[in-house]
Amino acid sequence: MSLILNDLVPIHWAAAGAGIAAVTLALLVLANRRLGISTGFEDICSLVLRQTYFRREALLKTRRWRMPFIGGLVLGGVLSAVAGGGWTPTWELGMFDERIGFGPAGKLAWMFVGGLFIGFGTRLGGGCTSGHGIFGMSNLELPSLVTTMSFMAGGIVTTQLLYRVVFA
């Protein structure tokens, strides 16, 4: 199956996994940081919100590294598109277009709702696929294993319902 992005052929999973491990370990060895992305949502919130939670030192201290890292993620996406057939704004959404078929306004609403779950859920759970799934599990932390099993279960049930029941 090719990617939605310019119909590119994806790199092998073993190579991708090795690359992710390399970044995770480089972040630790070179910068003494544990990989984690979803706290970045709090970093961005802390730029405008003034609640106690967003003014805590633990957050403001790590904002300095996580914000450029997240900027890099965006840049990586840009470079990937530019180097792989060119960058163009797109609304393409693969099997969503075939099976669910909402237009731009519907997609924005759909994605916003998904985002709400992601933002609230990752903060309540204390991390996402990177912080728990990659770093936490590699560090043999039990809460990370439990959280990873929980978000895999949540995703499996939701997608099975969406694509095998509701939009079957």
Binding site: L3, I4, L5, P10, I11, W13, A16, G17, A18, I20, A21, V23, L28, V29, R34, T39, E42, C45, T52, Y53, R56, L59, P68, G72, L73, L75, G76, G77, L79, S80, A81, G84, T88, W91, L93, G94, K107, M111, F112, V113, G114, G115, I118, G119, G121, T122, R123, G125, G127, S138, N139, E141, P143, S144, T148, S150, G154, G155, I156, T158
Partner: protein, 147 residues
Amino acid sequence: MLLYLLLGTAFGFILSRSGAADYNYIQGMFLFEEFQLYGIIATAVALSAPGLWLVKTVGRTWRGPVNIGPPRLFTPGNIAGGLLFGVGWSIAGMCPGPIFVNIGEGKVYALAALAGALVGAGAFGTLYDRLQRAFRLPPIVVGTGQG
């Protein structure tokens, strides 16, 4: 700062080209029709785990003694938050990293996913006092941890 930008760029490029930031591959994983994402996560953990063990055994990094914080304690929030995040991952077809990667790729709808995630995180922080009691979360100065 430049180091973080570079590492983030490398990470973003890999996510973009591996299928980890691709709606079809995410749904394929949850439908048990695509092995790709399982292979990526398993390989990443299988290689990071011994590397991490080695770094911790040596005890040093380029920037001083290893400091990745105390082991995090389990809270009911891990299960509830994990389940909610999983629902969102399925709906949007993106986890947090790929939201940013997809924005970079030019996928317009990813901006709405980011907006939702910021509102969700903002609501979480605003309601922290109440959630802390319900889910036995750490004190507010600590938060739920970096991840």
